[in-house]
């Protein structure tokens, strides 16, 4: 492996779906340029490496490590520390590593409820002995250890220092290539320190070709309930769209084809909590509750509209739960009640 002078490349996956790995292949035949430019030092999804290989490298041996996935268990955390130590540049690649993403929606519930759903009460699971995996199990041959499950999902930079973040679920191929090309050609990257690269700075709305007319709405619709008027802003038609609170860089891919932005690029520059920013935007687009209504009627009228937005926490924080201000729901530990989940 070593000794050919090429920079060393690594990619690893923690709590994520694996889509980020595919996204790298989505750069098409440019992957050959990556192979040309880098020496792969660790990429279990693509080539046969073991953790002990990484352990044997000197510190800082890997030049570029793309780490996708959040930190759900002790194995994820150990690998984050190991790869941080062995890498010159560590990149949180994709929404899970950036801000928790879909796995972090579990932060709204309890580990016990998760185990119950995964191993016990699940129509596709046959588990008559009701066996639930334990961190340590005694077998005749000795003790078996598996990773310890944590009480919540964290983003990568909540565990180790991260140099760069490439957002997206998954990151767009042209954005991935922009970054890789810069690294390959030796173009200096911006100063490190959880710096966002491979994305824009403004809201998705600014890349969106759909027209806004400052129209207000009287209720929300789910995507299957109406066919949107082409060419017009989806949010102004009552279709939930995270565009106003979400970082640009995807070229408004979803709104362009009639599906509201789900928010996968995370909050735009200067915004800490994506869901809270979106909530403020929703309050401006809802036109119900005006000065013509009597004071006591206002609240119930508005309530009725807001109730048409199903699962506000899961919708406003679909991707950013782990990095939100509250990070996880308040739940009685040891109880099977799944917090306030509706």
């Amino acid at each position: 492996m070593a000794g050919n002078g090429k920079p060393k490349f690594a990619m690893y996956w923690a709590a994520s779906c694996g889509g980020c790995e595919i996204a790298v292949l989505n750069i098409g035949d440019k992957i050959l340029a990556v192979d040309e430019a880098f020496d792969i030092a660790f990429w279990p999804c693509a080539a046969d490496f073991k953790v002990k290989d990484v352990e044997s490298y000197p510190d800082g041996y890997i030049d570029l490590c793309l780490f996708n996935g959040g930190i759900r268990n002790s194995e994820n955390e150990e690998m984050a520390h190991l790869l941080r130590r062995k890498s010159k540049v560590l990149v949180a690649f994709g929404s899970c590593a950036h801000e928790g993403c879909i796995p972090a929606l579990a932060n709204l519930t309890t580990p016990e409820a998760i185990f119950r759903a995964a191993y016990l009460n699940n129509i596709s699971t046959e588990n008559p002995k009701r066996v639930v995996p334990q961190p340590v199990t005694k077998v005749p041959e000795g003790e078996l250890h598996i990773p310890v499950f944590y009480d919540r999902v964290r983003a990568l930079d909540q565990v180790v220092a991260v140099d760069y973040i490439i957002p997206g679920c998954p990151p767009e191929p042209h954005q991935i290539w922009n970054v890789l090309e810069a690294v390959i050609s030796g173009t200096p990257l911006p100063p490190p320190g959880s710096t966002i690269i491979g994305a824009g700075k403004v809201a998705v709305c600014e890349e969106c070709p759909l027209e806004k007319h400052e129209k207000t709405i009287t209720r929300f619709y789910r995507p299957y309930e109406i066919v949107p008027e082409p060419g017009l802003c989806l949010l102004e038609q009552g279709l939930f769209c995270m565009g106003p609170a979400t970082r640009s860089g995807c070229n408004a891919r979803c709104p362009r084809v009639g599906m509201g932005c789900r928010g996968c690029y995370g909050p735009l520059d200067g915004v800490e909590d994506q869901g809270a920013r979106m909530l403020a935007a929703l309050a401006s687009v809802v036109g119900v509750g005006t000065l013509r209504d009597e004071e006591p009627k206002l609240e119930p009228l508005i309530e009725e509209v807001m109730e048409t937005l199903v699962d506000p926490a899961g919708t406003l924080y679909r991707y950013s739960m782990a990095h939100s201000l509250l990070q996880r729901a308040r739940v009685e530990t040891g109880s099977s009640a799944a917090g306030g989940v509706r």
Binding site: V131, P135, D273, R330
Partner: protein
């Protein structure tokens, strides 16, 4: 809940009505619960939702937003915007496991010192009954680090986790 628990309410009071109401309550020497930490904002519509969430995260037991009555906002509809945010925020915080009583909104004009004082008194009592929130310590685990989830033993699981219908 310790016997010495005193709820902390972060109060966002609009400059033109509710902050003056609080002022009036003071100059009129009204006795009311000293649990609110007032923060003066220009309008209740200025209270971005992240300010409310930040207050909860940083240790508030409750958040009170107070503004002018509908029709009396100095920025015309700032308070209606505040109301719409408040309604959705209330639905949201329930999912985070925060009781809805921990977030309240009251309209109090500059002459309604008693209304504001009564709202603070009522909310203080409700929070006292609910107990402390202490987000950092109880939810994020003190230093913000997660803890290993307590996974019940398989046998224990079999007896303590009955099938859900």
């Amino acid at each position: 809940m310790s016997a010495t628990y005193e709820p902390v309410i972060v109060g966002f009071l609009c400059n033109w009505c509710s902050y003056r109401a609080a002022d009036l309550a003071g100059t009129a020497r009204l006795h009311y619960a000293p649990n609110m930490r007032p923060i003066r904002v220009m309008c209740s519509g200025r209270v971005e939702p992240d300010l409310v969430l930040k207050a909860f995260r940083e240790g508030a037991d409750g958040v009170l937003i107070a503004g002018c009555h509908p029709g009396e906002c100095h920025y015309i509809e700032g308070n209606l915007k505040a109301l719409r945010r408040y309604v959705l925020l209330k639905q949201l915080i329930r999912q985070w496991g925060i009781e809805p009583e921990r977030l309240q909104l009251v309209w109090a004009s500059a002459s309604e010192g008693t209304v504001l004082a009564a709202a603070v008194n009522r909310m203080t009592e409700q929070l006292r009954a609910l107990g402390p929130l202490r987000w950092q310590q109880t939810v994020l685990g003190g230093d913000g680090r997660p803890v290993a989830a307590a996974v019940p033993k398989a046998e224990a699981m079999a007896t303590t986790m009955p099938e859900e219908a």
